[in-house]
């Protein structure tokens, strides 16, 4: 083998090498590191009970994170997700209070979510209003409109024995049902984005919108599709939310912490806001990271306010890392990429 000249090895900087690592794996690694830290410093962190509670509490924002990720992968942004989730829960419970059967209430509400998704998609794709404004406005409109026109209570509690409660009740083979539900949604979302042609086209569109269009991808219908899928997932997340929390209030705002968590879960998981980049495995990793982080902050008796600060700082670090690993090309970056 001596005759074979060794090819000159290209030297990669640390940054370049890290940038090629799938961010999902990276975040998984960070999550595990966090778990190790947690196990060493915190009593009861490693208990089965605590771990399953981490997972259960992460399901709602995990599903919303998938919804956010699907839209972001297609170079969009959906700020109405939290509003849709909250409104879904409120309206379903109000309909049930008005003696509608649960099945019908859910059907009606899912149709409602579908309409919201269609409106979002239509306005973004066909009227070409920036997604930021569109979804901010629809989110506020839906929250405010439903509150004024429809709701009659301040706090809605989930009736005992409803089908929604079953969603996260108990466990199957020792695994909490909520976790199974979350896992199923992740699996389906992952298959959709990674292995269907529609999913691939969405990513292509997010990566380079003009090229995708020139290639013949139906970019506008695809955009609408991402918003519809996101709205439906948000509605589902709303059901998971009342199922775990048992009640929902009417004081939510469009900038609910839920929205914030969903978007950051996606971003931490490597779904770049510039679109096209990232996978749902990354979102899963991000979800677990935030879940473990929340748990540790709670176990270490931080007040909610301090938790917000610590979480904010950590998220900023994660976004800064993303910006460092995947820097914007200053020569080609458009200024309107927010």
């Amino acid at each position: 083998m001596g005759a074979v000249a060794t090819a000159p090895r290209t030297e990669f900087s640390l940054r370049q090498r890290l940038a090629h690592v799938e961010q999902g794996l990276f975040v998984f690694g960070m999550t595990i590191a966090l778990c190790v830290v947690g196990a060493l410093t915190t009593d009861g962190f490693l208990s089965l009970n605590n771990l399953s509670s981490i997972l259960q509490l992460s399901v709602t924002f995990g599903i919303l994170g998938i919804a956010a990720a699907i839209v972001i992968l297609g170079k969009g942004l959906d700020l109405s997700l939290a509003a849709v989730a909250i409104v879904t829960a409120q309206v379903t419970l109000e309909l049930m209070r008005r003696d509608l059967s649960e099945g019908r209430a859910i059907l009606l509400v899912v149709l409602f979510a579908l309409v919201i998704g269609l409106v979002n998609g239509f306005v973004v794709a066909f009227v070409e209003v920036p997604a930021l404004f569109t979804t901010l406005a629809t989110g506020q409109l839906v929250l405010g409109g439903v509150l004024v026109l429809f709701l009659e209570e301040n706090i809605y509690s989930l009736p005992e024995g409803s089908a929604i409660a079953v969603l996260t009740d108990g466990s199957i083979l020792g695994v909490p049902r909520a976790v199974l539900v979350g896992a199923l949604v992740f699996l389906l979302g992952w298959l959709f984005i990674s292995y269907t042609s529609v999913g691939r086209l969405i990513r292509a569109m997010g990566d380079n919108f003009d090229t995708a269009r020139a290639m013949g991808a139906p970019v506008r219908p695809l955009q609408v599709l991402t918003y519809v899928v996101a709205a439906l997932l948000a509605a589902f997340a709303g059901y998971v939310m009342i199922s775990t929390e048992n009640s929902v209030e009417t004081t939510g705002t469009a900038f609910d912490p839920l929205l914030f968590t969903a978007v950051t879960v996606a971003v931490i998981g490597g779904v770049s806001l510039s679109g096209g980049k990232g996978t749902l495995l990354g979102v899963l990793a991000g979800t677990l990271f935030v879940g473990v982080l929340n748990n540790l902050l709670v176990l270490h008796s931080f007040s909610t306010a301090t938790q917000d600060i610590v979480r904010g700082a950590l998220l900023l670090a994660a976004i800064a890392l993303d910006a460092w690993l995947h820097p914007r090309d200053e020569e080609t970056a458009k200024t309107d990429e927010l």
């Binding site: 009970n49 509150l147 009659e152 301040n154 706090i155 009640s247 004081t251 709670v298 008796s301």
Partner: protein, 354 residues
């Protein structure tokens, strides 16, 4: 250069001279009404006199939250029944926990002088201070209910929060002692800067200090169930069985805390029945929650009575016709500690909001 400096100084002096602090010019127009009732009057004329006084008066009620909230709807409905029957206009302005909205509503009503009496439900001891003064200047009476403010309105009616807190804390101590639980409690209050939370915390610490109990955590749940629920879960995860009671200021929050306690029991985080949830006020939901074992005991205060007192106080203000802001009264209403077994024995517990 010197002239420029001089000119600047001069300009500055002029600006300074123009600065004023508005002391609030007192507007002497009063809300109208009589000089009080005559010494003697026949029953029929007396009734007519009341109706004449109330005829066409405008009364606005600005609660922190109205829709779907038994406490304020209880008062609202009482006022509505009374005032509308007497020919006065009554209107509710729901703030839905939005302080900005509340302040703007009140400012607007004062600016347009659209009302004769403002019934205020104050979210924060400081925030309505200016508005109460402005209302008096504009010749509008203010009736502050349940949540006292730094500025006194013409009338304050409300629960004896300190007393209620002392009494329900006493009950908590009794329960804890009977279980032999640790002498530690956790508090979940509102924003913390509101009259209710301040008085509640003062009341329970009176009792707990006396009995050597320690408040290990105070969480501000901002009146929000989700926050109360989360705060309770956190405290449970940290403290487990090391506390014996949650002292929750707001009864609806107490239900959410009760949910968290029951969840923790189900998960085996704490032993069943090892932690009690105590609060004050007893609306129908709270009673249902006590029935379901989520809330242990509550200091039920006379909510209906507060409604009636507002009605009576408003009529008194309008009949006396004193200048708004010239006199201030503060009245406290009674309470009783009830639990699952005793709640149906008292008329002041389990009000329905109608």
């Amino acid at each position: 250069m010197k002239t420029r400096v001089a000119a600047l100084l001069g300009a500055f002096a002029i600006v300074l001279a123009g600065c004023t602090v508005d002391g609030g010019s007192s507007d002497d127009s009063s809300a109208g009404g009589g000089e009080g009732m005559p010494d003697t009057i026949t029953p029929i004329k007396a009734r007519q006199a009341v109706y004449d006084t109330m005829q066409g008066k405008k009364i606005a009620f600005v609660p922190i939250l109205y829709k779907g909230y038994n406490l304020t709807t209880e008062w609202g409905h009482t006022m509505e029944r009374s005032f509308e029957r007497m020919g006065a206009e009554f209107k509710v302005y729901d703030s839905n926990f939005d302080t900005d909205q509340m302040v703007k509503t009140i400012n607007d009503l004062i600016a347009r002088e659209a009302v004769d009496v403002l019934v205020l439900h104050n979210p924060d001891v400081g925030v309505l201070t200016q508005q109460i003064e402005d209302a008096a200047d504009a010749g509008i009476y203010t009736v502050v209910i349940n949540m006292i403010s730094n500025a006194s309105g013409d009338i304050f009616v409300g629960a004896d929060v300190v007393g209620s807190a002392e009494d329900v804390a006493e009950r908590a101590v009794t329960d804890c002692e009977s279980r032999g639980a640790p002498k530690q409690v956790a508090v979940i209050d509102g924003p913390g800067n509101d009259a209710f939370s301040l008085q509640w915390n003062a009341g329970i610490s009176n009792t707990f200090e006396e009995h050597g109990y320690e408040v290990v955590r105070t969480s501000h749940a901002q009146w929000q169930n989700s926050l109360a629920n989360k705060a309770a879960m956190q405290i449970l995860q940290q403290q487990k069985d090391n506390i014996c009671a949650f002292m929750v200021t707001f009864d609806l929050n107490a239900i959410a805390v009760g949910d968290a306690v029951q969840d923790a029991e189900r998960q085996g985080l704490i032993q069943e029945g090892s932690i009690g949830v105590y609060t004050m006020a007893a609306g129908a939901e709270t009673c249902a929650a006590m029935d379901a074992g989520k809330v242990t005991a509550t200091a039920a205060y006379d909510v209906t009575g507060i409604g009636s007192s507002i009605v009576a106080g408003t009529q008194q203000l309008l009949e006396m016709g004193n200048e708004p802001g010239s006199m201030h009264t503060i009245s406290l209403l009674p309470h009783v500690v009830v639990d699952k077994t005793t709640m149906n024995e008292y008329t002041i517990a389990c009000y329905t909001g109608n």
